[in-house]
């Protein structure tokens, strides 16, 4: 099928044991260091590692006010192995209508002396992404259309 599911998976080997990668994710001081790209400053408001626990980060550019970044709820916590959170709920399972609905499944797996880290991110649907049309998308429509064309040609 030419249309992808609205999800993505990033996987990468990190040259440090799962315990250390887990610590970088699960400690506010560490998370704030890498969660948002510099020079934007990150502030970790909630990092309550239990199912139903709140996850909230804010961002600030320069010296202004901190702005909302991510607000969500943890769904599953397996120390040093798995971390699942969503933005369609906030703390204590309260339903929310986030600016971007997603569920992130983060996994940490020992591989040799390091960690196989992966982030699988599920988005709501293709219709949801239409909201982002105004963000400028005048490029990159080659691949999908080529695939669709090839698909249709195979049927002819």
């Amino acid at each position: 099928m030419p249309i992808e599911k609205p999800e993505l998976t990033i996987t990468r080997f990190i040259n440090a044991p799962p315990a250390m990668v887990w610590k970088a994710w699960s400690t506010p001081e560490h998370l704030a260091e890498w969660w948002i790209p510099a020079p934007i400053e990150c502030r970790v408001i909630k990092l309550d590692l239990r199912p139903g626990g709140g996850f909230e980060t804010q961002m600030r550019e320069g010296v202004g006010e901190f702005q909302p970044h991510v607000e969500g709820c943890f769904l599953e916590i397996v120390p040093e192995a798995r971390l699942v959170w969503t933005t369609v709920l906030t703390e204590e399972w309260r339903p929310a209508e986030p600016w971007m609905a997603l569920t992130a499944i983060i996994s940490f797996e020992a591989e040799g002396r390091g960690t196989r880290y992966s982030a699988r991110v599920l988005h709501k649907n293709v219709a949801d992404s239409k909201k982002h049309k105004e963000m400028g998308f005048q490029q990159g429509w080659g691949t999908t259309i080529d695939q669709l064309t090839a698909f249709v040609q195979r049927l002819a």
Partner: protein, 74 residues
Amino acid sequence: MGLPSFMKHLRVLEQDGLISSEKIGRVRTCRVNTAHLTAAETWLSEQREVWQARTDRLADYVETQMSRKIEDAN
């Protein structure tokens, strides 16, 4: 792929606004809605870039800065 199954695929595409179709007599003509297709694809690849960069920052932080911080603390 048989015709019924192909029609099912087309219906899904049409529901998502990715194509539009029109039936005249026995012929159904489908058109690709490039604007929607573009928006969907570009948006997802942007999200992929965001998460790829985030993962790279995590790896860099853990492999270099974090171990240095822990050493300093000891």
